[in-house]
Symmetry: C2
């Protein structure tokens, strides 16, 4: 009988501890991905480019569409591969003609990018629709002109009908191509055990993961890694101490030295880390963050604990049916591989 | 009343004509993809690498697996893109470090490749399992060594279990990687209206398509383009007259000058054509075939008619759920992009 009372007390205390941890997490701005579908849609939607089923389906086709690159060989999915955490697994993005990003910038994940306040490492665009226009045209990425993109897509039977369903008219423009891609990217959100925990399921995180979350909060990581995106704002980097791999590439942030804070959702799947993809180990990445942003030498135990928490941010990826894209026609401009 | 009799007579004659056309098609060796599932499985299976559900699922993951390339950037699907007819839409395949195929060879479609008697343009491999080992290792393709492929795949949690389910033991080898990919490729068959027609549904092809089939047979195209694969054997190319684009690349076939006859299934989706991808128009391809293989100048009307038939070979692609691939770990060898 005594034993039972003890167990009940321990569980009650543990629940109490969890509840208080949830409060602490919310106080520093951490927030779950809504489970209510209409609440979620409201959150991820763009009033200037409202989501609808046909637009998302079209956007998926265009996201996987290699004919949207000069060479016919590169799609959005090449660098933001939905099979591998929404990234490409290389330090610096590689695009047309095997050209590396000239600033040695790493491809950020497209999953949960909708929760970022700004897009690109220097935060130069505000939404996914504007972002999508960049890599399509960039010479070291997909290297296609607006005109060529429209010509290619317009030439293929099937797309016209899809644009009509998505936008109400079948006039294909570069803006609409990017808007459809943006609409698709908006649905790429990945709810995790951490979200369940924040929403009240106190068993969703193990004791170790909860300890990691506590360390994550206590050390001050949430100064930048907060909100639903667990990142996504702009921050000085490095802030306190120099970044040991600063010599790789020449990126210095925006004109004020501000750099977009990456999301930590699915972070265990998106190595290598930092804007220049210099670090392959999550443990090392956490250690460096302690140094550069918090000015502290995190202990091995603390690093391990934080990494344990970070792994609980691995989310459930949406199921994606691989598209069957329309055939080229005699009207389709041919690719150029050089 | 008279009118009705006339209509009935016309339909009867037309049915008779169709039935006789089916007989003619079968006489020259054309054959449908079986609709009976167990008959189909028997046909596509490899006794040395029996298909099972787990193996096909693993093979799908590996087919889309970019970490099976030296760079982390190229998968089987890069050149044999299942969204675009199983091909890449460029003249010569482009692989690691943006290197074009040294012989300027075009990537053949992976759809229905199981029906080919031999694999590769020079027919040097007999089955898909043997074929898969080539591009993985070829320097201008995925450029990975056997050892590195095994190291990469073994390092990622999740694969071990999948190999156990697929092969009965979780010992990962290069052979098993290729075998799983082969098993997946075996299911990539695309039944079309032409198959329905051959199986007895006389309305499955329009009158124009039937006329095209008749022309296709009468002109002798079925000398090479026959069987379930509508191609897939070895044939002298060019046979009668020179190939006008022979100067592109240096491929001359196998040691006897024999070249694998490509499948015509989904041919409307797999431009550019011929081993060196020199021709973008299906009409021009048919015209050239008339010249080089049959020694005749096909009339425009005949070419159009044949092309109309060829379009009826567009088949139903299997629905593929895009895989979620395992995460890299600290043990995973890093990519090399140069």
């Amino acid at each position: 009988m005594k034993k039972n009372i003890l167990i009940v007390t321990v569980i009650a205390l543990s629940n109490f501890a969890s509840a208080s941890l949830v409060e602490d997490a919310k106080k520093v701005g951490l927030a779950p991905i809504p489970t209510d579908k209409s609440e979620l849609i409201k959150l991820i939607d763009n009033p200037k480019n409202p989501i609808n089923k046909a637009k998302v389906e079209l956007g998926k086709a265009l996201f996987f569409e290699p004919r949207l690159s000069k060479s016919n060989l590169i799609s959005c999915n090449t660098c933001h591969n939905l099979a591998t955490g929404g990234v490409d697994g290389v330090s610096a993005a590689i695009g047309h003609n095997w050209t590396a990003n000239p600033h040695h910038l790493n491809s950020p994940t497209v999953y949960n990018a909708v929760f970022m306040e700004k897009q690109f490492w220097d935060g130069r665009e505000l939404d996914l629709e504007a972002q999508a226009q960049g890599p399509l045209q960039a010479k070291p990425e997909m290297a296609i002109s607006k005109e060529m993109a429209v010509k290619r897509i317009s030439s293929m039977a099937g797309y016209k009908e899809q644009f009509k369903e998505a936008f109400g008219d079948n006039n294909i423009s570069f803006q609409k191509i990017a808007d459809a891609i943006g609409a698709f990217e908006r649905i790429l959100v990945t709810p995790s055990n951490f979200d369940k925990f924040l929403a009240g399921d106190q068993k969703a995180l193990s004791t170790e993961e909860q300890e990691g979350l506590k360390t994550f909060i206590d050390k001050g990581c949430t100064a930048c890694h907060t909100g639903i995106g667990i990142g996504g704002g702009m921050q000085k980097f490095p802030l306190v101490k120099p970044y040991k791999y600063a010599n790789i590439g020449d990126f210095k942030g925006d004109k004020n030295g501000m750099v977009k804070t990456p999301t930590l959702r699915n972070i265990a799947q998106t190595a290598p880390y930092f804007h220049n993809g210099a670090v392959w180990s999550l443990e090392e990445a956490v250690m460096i963050m302690g140094e550069t942003q918090l000015g502290m030498a995190l202990k091995d135990k603390e690093i391990k604990s934080i990494v344990t928490f970070l792994k609980s941010l691995d989310g459930e990826m949406p199921t994606i049916t691989y598209p069957k894209l329309p055939s080229v026609t005699a009207m389709t401009p041919q690719p150029k591989v050089d």
